[in-house]
Amino acid sequence: MQYYQPDSLSDAVDRLKEADEAKIVAGGQSMMPLLRQGLISPDRLVDITNIPDLNQVTISGRSVEIGALVTYSELLETDLCTELDLLRDAIEAIADVPVRNAGTIGGGVSHADPAQDLPPALQCLDAQVVSFDGKETRRHDLTEFFLDYYLTELAPHEIVTGIEFEMPPAHSGGTYASDTEAPGGWSTAGIAALIIPDEDDGETCVDARLAYCAGAPVPERVSSEIEETLIGNRIDREIVDEVATAIISDLELIDDVGDDIEYRKHLFRVMTKRAISTALERSEAPPLVEASQ
């Protein structure tokens, strides 16, 4: 096996292209276990951590760009996470401090584990993944980026350079709620919610975005029909129950290790209710009330 640490993006793409089976390494948090367990055996590792400019967080106006090499811990330290509860909650759900110190946001989305905690939050922010394939810069909607378990739209030599999104309005509220079997473990049910109330009347929901992980082969935005149930109304418990039930019928849970499917459905129901009511509390809309008469 060969190990390269190129210091430019174009050199990295060239190194990836010229080998039979090359793999990108960023934080190594998923790559090293795969190598160690013999699940992959590339003939070349291309370590991208020396490429400059991929470790910046840039905010201009309401536009946010997060470089692929920004670690979860670095992101947690930014004002962005003070302002955006949705993003902060999702990052705090990831593993533990040392994994967050090394794991990168680009590595996270590229790895495409269906239980990855950050993608649902980014999907609620309508984020785009930016990549470079040696010729052009491509932008992928995060809702379409994931194709299947551990599979994305990226070509083998294509490098994620960052994530972009627009800040949601200040009067919106968001959160990520998840359940895990062990402290620091992977989520068995995770859901992100962003609720945007009407700015004038302060209570009618004008936009609602929900996305989940660990519920299907890919992290997924909830269907627009379900999201629309929340829109146009003042959200009450009855509506939340309706949405939680609808989401459960949307899930494609597989019978893998861990809790059984019925129990996980129950967890999704609880997490969905929790996420929507917390998002609502954090928005400028009034908190959840019983169904209106």
Partner: protein
């Protein structure tokens, strides 16, 4: 490029240049090439924290970091903490009986040092959150958290 690569790290204040194969984790390089065995190996896949190491002061699980990424950097292992006296965190583990077999101890000590450098006065909850990446199979965690609180008192002085 040949299979064997040379890297230089500043390990516990001493510059070390040595050969390491591509893809070898930092943990194995430290233990096998530099014979520093305080950094423990156990799970291999990032779950137990017994290989915890500081790179430029930041705690990482060294079984998950390619050795090449430490090239040119400062690396601290449990062997680098004591000078003439033990480090306050080491004292805390002794005073509060924060260990039984001791296998997890170097990892816990490294994480706790990083925590107290960042936050010399952590709450119990903050200690728990910070040490989530370290597992102990025999002491249980109460004594370990007591040890960190004990050390925090020394930091305060």
């Amino acid at each position: 490029m040949s299979e064997i690569n040379e890297i230089t790290i500043d390990l516990n204040g001493e510059e070390q240049t040595f050969s390491v194969k591509p893809g070898v984790p930092l943990r194995d390089a430290i233990r096998n090439e530099l014979q520093m065995t305080g950094t423990k190996e156990a799970c291999e896949v990032g779950e137990c924290g017994s290989c915890m190491t500081l790179i430029e002061g930041t705690p990482v699980k060294s079984c998950l970091v390619p050795a090449h990424q430490a090239n040119g950097k400062e690396v601290t292992t449990v062997e680098g903490l004591a000078d003439d006296d033990l480090h306050p965190v080491q004292e805390g583990f002794i005073e509060e009986f924060g260990l039984q077999c001791g296998y997890c101890t170097p990892g816990f000590i490294i994480s706790s040092v990083a925590l107290l450098e960042e936050n010399p006065n952590p709450s119990r909850e903050e200690i728990k959150q910070y040490l989530k990446g370290n597992l102990c199979r025999c002491t249980g965690y109460t004594k370990i958290f007591d040890a960190v609180e004990h050390a925090a008192e020394a930091y305060d002085e």
